[in-house]
Subunit: 464 residues, 2 copies
């Protein structure tokens, strides 16, 4: 972990691979001069750019030892008006992998060093351009793959969450100061901090904190997708259903090979909500569902899913059997939502089917093979999520670290409440208040340490 910002770092900022253009980014005191020393104009005379204004772009040629490496556009961002807060340069070159390597090598050999993952953002944090939770949101923003995860990350990056935490913290700090002032006058038994006001404040703050903690359940789902297990017998049409869902969204599908050999997780965004479908091994027999669920993979998939789709072949199962299977399944799905889907319907006989399965009015009838009523299923999935009352304009926690700190702050503040009720002395209150302040400060980086920064920024990609 490099907490100093006095050297100059360089990294490829765009995605790896051959492309029209690539951008190499430098930041640090020598960022401009490192590039300038190899920068030439069309007439092959040195082109000076140090004195140029910030936020200007300059066409020129990078030459090293009489070899032209590339024709590039160099854009200057002078500190403090840059992302990192210090002098930065972006070199936009032709997207040849060879050229990218040559340029990186050139800058590395002449005054810059390779940036660590997230080091540009770390410098932005160290220079006060972003607080810690905003910096973390930058990584979330880059990883965002649905409208909701994008919006939540954007809100965090723009400081929505930070300002909320900072407000809580500021209010608490003033009380903490007053209580600590009492300690200085402890002989005299004075009370600078109004206990009634403090009690109200702590209640207000814990309410906000608890709401934030609760939002993590939703936030986590937004960030990582809503896990949906599809269970059903092998011939129920699971694969067909999955393919139909994927075909409709092929552009934003990513295929993640599962940890177990037969499990593939596929992500699909429906109406801006990311669903992560977990395809399970089929359940083998008709009635003995419990035994079949015993198949570990299916059980695990059900365990980690928020929604379980039970898919059955509408020709192959009676209403009584279905009732039995659903009952047995319910014992295993815990708090997950169950969606029962009848597949392979004939549109002509749909009314007959509905009559047959009238004891399950919530069944969704589809024909995966013929792409019939798939939208109804999608809508159902989206609605299940909507019932959790997500509002992207609310502050939603998506970060386990933040949740952890909020929980610790909450525990400490509950102790303060108890202490106030028991009328304990100020110095004991002060300890818990300080602890809560510390945890809140951890979130925004007002209180921090190298290990914490290390664990946060190593998760970034290089170049950011």
């Amino acid at each position: 972990m490099q907490l100093q910002t006095t050297d100059t770092i360089v990294a490829l900022a765009t995605a790896h691979g051959s492309s029209a253009i690539a951008v190499i980014r430098l930041s640090g005191p020598n960022a401009i001069t490192v590039v300038e020393s190899f920068f030439y104009n069309k007439a092959l005379a040195p082109k000076k750019i140090s004195h140029k204004h910030s936020h200007t772009a300059h066409f020129g040629i990078i030459i090293h030892q009489n070899v032209i490496i590339d024709e590039v556009v160099v854009t200057l961002f002078k500190g403090p008006n840059s992302y990192t807060g210090q002098n930065s340069v972006e070199v936009s070159c032709h997207g040849s992998i060879f050229i990218q390597q040559q340029l990186l090598q050139l800058f590395l050999s002449n005054g810059a060093r390779m940036a660590n993952p997230g080091e540009f953002t770390l410098r932005a944090f160290l220079n006060g351009k972003l607080d810690l939770s905003q910096a973390e949101a930058v990584a979330d923003l880059i990883a965002s793959n649905s409208a909701l995860s994008h919006q939540v990350a954007m809100q965090h990056m723009r400081g929505g969450f930070s300002s909320k935490i900072k407000t809580l913290r500021t209010n608490l700090i003033s009380f903490a100061s007053l209580i600590e002032l009492e300690l200085d006058f402890s002989e005299e038994d004075v009370e600078f901090a109004n206990r009634h006001d403090l009690k109200n404040l702590v209640t207000t703050i814990t309410n906000v904190i608890q709401k934030l903690i609760a939002s993590f359940e939703v936030g986590n789902v937004i960030k990582n997708g809503i896990p949906v297990a599809i269970v059903g017998k092998p011939n129920a049409g699971k694969s067909t259903l999955l393919n139909v869902l994927l075909d409709d969204d092929r552009a934003i599908v990513s295929e993640i090979p599962g940890t177990t050999r037969d499990t593939i997780e596929d992500e699909i965004t429906i109406d801006g909500v990311l669903f992560r479908f977990i395809d399970t091994a089929g359940l083998r027999t008709t009635t003995d569902i419990v035994e079949q669920i015993g198949i570990n993979k299916a059980l695990e998939a059900i365990k980690k899913s928020a929604i379980v789709i039970y898919l059955f072949d509408s020709h192959e199962i009676s209403s009584g059997d279905l009732k039995l299977e659903i009952e047995l399944l319910r014992e295993h799905i815990g708090t997950s939502q169950l969606v029962i889907v009848a597949n392979k319907i004939d549109v002509e006989n749909l009314q007959d089917l509905k009559t047959e399965f009238s004891s399950h009015p919530d069944i969704i009838y589809i024909s995966a093979k013929e792409h019939k009523y798939i939208d109804a299923l999608k809508q159902k999935l989206v609605n299940l999520f909507d019932t959790r009352t997500v509002d992207a304009t609310d502050t939603i926690i998506t970060n386990a670290r933040h949740t952890n700190s909020l929980k610790k702050a909450n525990t400490a503040l509950l102790k303060v409440s108890e202490g106030l009720a028991a009328n304990i002395v100020g110095d004991l209150l002060a300890i818990d208040i300080r602890y809560a302040l510390n945890e809140l400060g951890n979130i925004t980086g007002d209180v921090t340490n190298e290990d914490l920064l290390d664990s946060i920024f190593t998760k970034f990609c290089i170049g950011k």
Copy 2:
């Protein structure tokens, strides 16, 4: 093929994938206004940029229907001082795939259309910023993966080749004009074009053209790598040798699955020269090499290689057997260079081996497993190439299309020479001169047509 430049095109210009930043590029009359209409400042007020200077970068926020899509840096390049020669904008956004898609979608729905492959460069050509062979060199530059291919592409992009062709063409044009003037006065039997001078000029030009045509053999190798077939028995250590070579250059290795199942081609750059190794199926028996070479894969690999490495286990073969094998092999390698490599040597007994195989003084002795003397082999490969007297500062043709046009021009000019020797009339000379001029003009795009442009630019990546 869109030869008009009056609409506005947009494309992702950086490599696909998640990254620190991505760049979306627009070009066309509305490039700036399309972006400006969604561009806001930090206070969320519209940020006007149309009136700003060219080559300036502007931080701001892209907002669509009250949703913040991203915080971006927008760089303006106003025509004619841009790559395409028309107004262009680069939007540098966070490298989230979701954000890239959202921004592209936004611009596509609001006045821009998706750029075709190479369309930015096509516009640069149509607007006279580059000639055709320079435009083609842009694609070669991006694809370049060795110091030599990079340098040749750079020289072409910077117009080294074009200016040579243009000079030839200009000289010919003045003669063509004089000869065509004669045709206007054909009744009067005048000669405006000095036949002696014309003959000299044609000789000079064909000499240059023939040198350029000859350079394609080397140019093709520079661009596509020098094909090296490694042949030998299965236990000769071929795979080990290949791995050793690859390990040393892991960073610039790319693995191309061959057309046949058992053939893998691996590219390695040694001393700036790209080698393309073709791993062949092993030769199965010791003495019956001809029969074994009959294995089609090995034969094909040998046929398309410029260098054949014959690798043998120094413990498994006698000097007499080796002589026999080499003789038989030579019958099949045509003009390819043969490199004989003895593997699995003991460094202690190296002198004994050299004595044993003294009838083959050019053998290179290595131990692939122990990484011994691999550099000697590499040096040998590089030297074999160097003997072809490549000078990257010479103009080297790497493009089959250019070679084809040069050959046609050469044929036409040889007819002119013959015509001059036979003292034929000017109008027949004029036809061949015009034909040669046309072919030379094809190279630089002075003479062109839609089909030609189509075939050239569809090979580009989108965004360039």
